[in-house]
């Protein structure tokens, strides 16, 4: 009986224990590396975390100047946790398989996963299982002639960016911190040499949704413009008080024999609010020319000034009053924010315009300008898409065009069906956005994020 007990005990308990010990020792021996300290002494034998499934690929959606190093989350039971901050990887790179290899940098925990680069790899949940590191360049020591470097002096280096259409070879060195004082690493350079060729991409696939939305909006707006031209009386555009008051403001300036002042915002001619302001200026200038009033236009940017001069001049010609156009009235006030505010405030205080129009993108000078205008007693109409400045204009101006109204102003003033059709198309785009917002909120609340991700960058 006792023998039978010992037999069972030996077989069921000791055998697995012995097997475990044997396997552990065998695995340790197989993964052991010789650790070398900075002084070159042989230290201890420690197992290292070797990255699994290492891959080097060309970075998607780029200009061909980057590579991506990918590796799987380590699942080996005997290795340290991948998030372990004692583990780091050193990357070296070369343009030839046999070197010379130059340092790229060190990857330290917490490592980024493929999921952290949605513009490149999308939002698939599997992406969380792969780590990713972007290689943009490397550090190369400068070429020096013998005797040029003094003893103890660090050799100078140059940061080199990766070039397109070049095959690069990458090696990975695994480092495990075994002591902090003094800092000691257990290191192992992997034998595997990874290679990939950098290539520029002709289409940013991460912007596919943006292209589709752009095509949708373009088609809708163009369809409405076409439809508006065919049915010019079938359009309803809500009243915008600020734009209806424009004629009154210009009429007031004419009756009082005082000038109207148009104040441009602080953006360059390549910005949409400045272009929208320019469109409104064209309409106002035409009306002023017809009413035979005086118009002054202030600028912060000389390019905008040149475009304004042409716009106003053409408007005066179209109105049949080229003689009334005065080039000196379309003036460059100052190229600095507060100098510009001071110069325009000076014009307001000295010349007391009957009507002031503030259009474009404004910053902190908005209140300085509009409050001074209010104190001079002028009727003020402002329009801006700078939503931080909208409250200041609302408090100081008689009428304020908020956000998109700035873009609708030109079409509204002209009453041209094809321009009004564009506004209608814009409204359809807004309805589509509202629908997406509602659906996105519902789906995300129900735990299905895929719908929202369709619209993410």
């Amino acid at each position: 009986m006792r023998n039978l007990f010992y037999l069972i005990f030996n077989f069921f308990l000791l055998t697995p224990c012995l097997l475990f010990v044997f396997t552990s020792v065998f695995t340790s021996v197989m993964t052991m590396t010789i650790t070398t300290t900075a002084r070159g002494e042989v230290d201890v034998l420690v197992p290292l975390t070797v990255p699994e499934g290492l891959q080097l690929i060309d970075k998607p959606n780029d200009n061909g100047q980057a590579l991506m190093l990918l590796w799987k989350k380590n699942s080996s039971a005997n290795s340290s946790a991948p998030e372990n901050d004692k583990i780091s990887y050193e990357i070296i790179i070369a343009e030839n398989q046999n070197g010379p290899f130059f340092p790229v940098g060190k990857i330290i925990a917490p490592f980024k996963t493929k999921y952290d680069f949605p513009q490149l790899f999308g939002y698939a949940k599997e992406n969380k299982e792969y780590y990713a590191f972007e290689i943009k360049g490397y550090t190369k020591p400068n070429e020096v002639k013998a005797g040029e470097v003094k003893e103890g002096e660090k050799p100078k280096t140059t940061d080199v960016l990766l070039s397109p259409n070049v095959t690069y070879y990458v090696k990975v060195k695994v480092l495990e911190e075994i002591s902090t004082t003094p800092l000691k690493f257990n290191e192992k350079e992997l034998n595997e040499v990874l290679s990939a060729t950098t290539k520029g991409n002709w289409f940013a696939t991460n912007k596919t949704n943006s292209v589709l939305i752009l095509i949708f909006l373009t088609v809708v707006i163009m369809l409405y413009i076409y439809w508006a031209q065919r049915n010019p009386h079938g359009l309803f555009i809500r009243k915008i008080a600020g734009l209806d008051a424009m004629d009154d403001a210009i009429g007031r300036a004419t009756e009082m024999g005082k000038m109207a002042l148009f104040v441009h915002g602080l953006r360059s001619v390549s910005d949409v609010p400045t272009i929208a302001a320019m469109n409104i200026l064209g309409r106002i200038a035409r009306k002023i020319a017809e009413f035979d009033a005086e118009l002054k236009v202030s600028h912060w940017d000389p390019i905008v000034q040149q475009v304004s001069q042409e716009t106003v001049k053409e408007a005066y010609i179209e109105a049949g009053r080229p003689d009334a156009y005065k080039e000196e009235n379309i003036f460059f006030a100052a190229g600095d924010q507060f100098s510009y505010a001071a110069a325009v405030e000076g014009v307001m205080v000295r010349e007391k315009p009957a009507a002031i129009f503030h259009f474009g993108y404004f910053y902190a000078e908005s209140l300085l300008l509009s409050e001074t205008g209010a104190q001079t007693g002028a009727i003020q109409i402002a329009g801006t898409d700078a939503f931080t400045q909208i409250p200041f204009f609302i408090t100081t101006c008689d009428y304020t065009l908020i956000g998109e109204e700035l873009y609708a102003a030109s079409a509204y003033l002209s009453r041209e069906p094809k321009l009004l059709g564009g506004i209608k198309g814009q409204d359809v785009g807004k309805v589509a956005i509202i629908a997406v917002l509602i659906l996105g909120t519902i789906f995300t609340t129900c735990g299905w994020e895929r719908f929202s991700q369709l619209f993410w960058p």
Binding site: G200, A204, P302, I303, A315, F338, T395, E404
Partner: protein, 216 residues
């Protein structure tokens, strides 16, 4: 003549407009190089028009001085300021114009001790302007103005240390007003701005909007 004044600008707007849109979707190095070239062209235009801006500015103030308009002395100050700064810039603290601008000398002294204080003065005036604008706006003339007044008082008091002394919940209410109703409106305005921008750009690219050329 009509071709150069009307058709050519419209054609240029069409091609450059679409080119800029398409280049935004091309990350390739050739696309980047083309975009850089276009940007360089803009910088060159900017440099040329800067001279035209200066010419216009000095001409504008010269006319004011010549006609002895009200405040013509300020125009004299503009001329004096421009030429004094230019002379110090050319002298460049004894290094003259072929060397980079010296860090010390007349230009930096004028910038630091005249220009910067003037700018700070202008900026500080904002505080008084905010007070006077707020006084006008926060008069409870209607229900909307009343709601605005209450919300503004809560936000203002909630942002300062005395708010927490009045009520521990006041900073939370203030933050809620900023994070929810305020942010919702901001985003709504932002959507409108984005769509308005797209619509205006398309109208210009397709030559439907021509007001910037002066005509209908």
């Amino acid at each position: 003549m009509n071709f150069f004044k009307k058709r050519l600008p419209l054609l240029l707007a069409f091609f450059t407009g679409w080119l800029a849109v398409i280049l935004d979707y091309i990350p390739h190095q050739n696309g980047e190089a083309l975009m850089t070239t276009i940007t360089k062209g803009l910088i060159i235009i900017g440099a040329v028009t800067a001279f035209m801006g200066i010419y216009g500015l000095l001409g504008h103030h010269y006319l004011k001085m010549k006609r002895k308009n009200e405040g013509w002395a300020y125009s004299l100050l503009v001329w004096a300021g421009f030429f004094i700064m230019m002379l110090f810039g050319i002298y460049n603290n004894g290094e003259w114009i072929l060397k980079p601008q010296a860090e010390v000398g007349g230009v930096s002294w004028i910038y630091e001790y005249i220009f910067n204080p003037c700018q700070a003065t202008m900026f500080s005036m904002l505080a008084f302007f905010i007070a006077s604008a707020a006084y006008r706006t926060f008069r409870a003339k209607s229900i909307e103005a009343g709601i605005l007044l209450v919300a503004a008082i809560i936000v203002m008091i909630g942002q300062v240390p005395v708010g927490i002394l009045i009520s521990e919940r006041l900073p939370d209410i203030s933050q809620w007003l900023l994070d929810y109703p305020n942010l919702a409106v901001k985003r709504a305005i932002f959507f409108g701005i984005a769509l308005g921008g797209v619509s205006t750009s398309l109208r210009i690219i397709f030559g439907i909007e021509r007001a910037y050329l002066g005509g209908e």
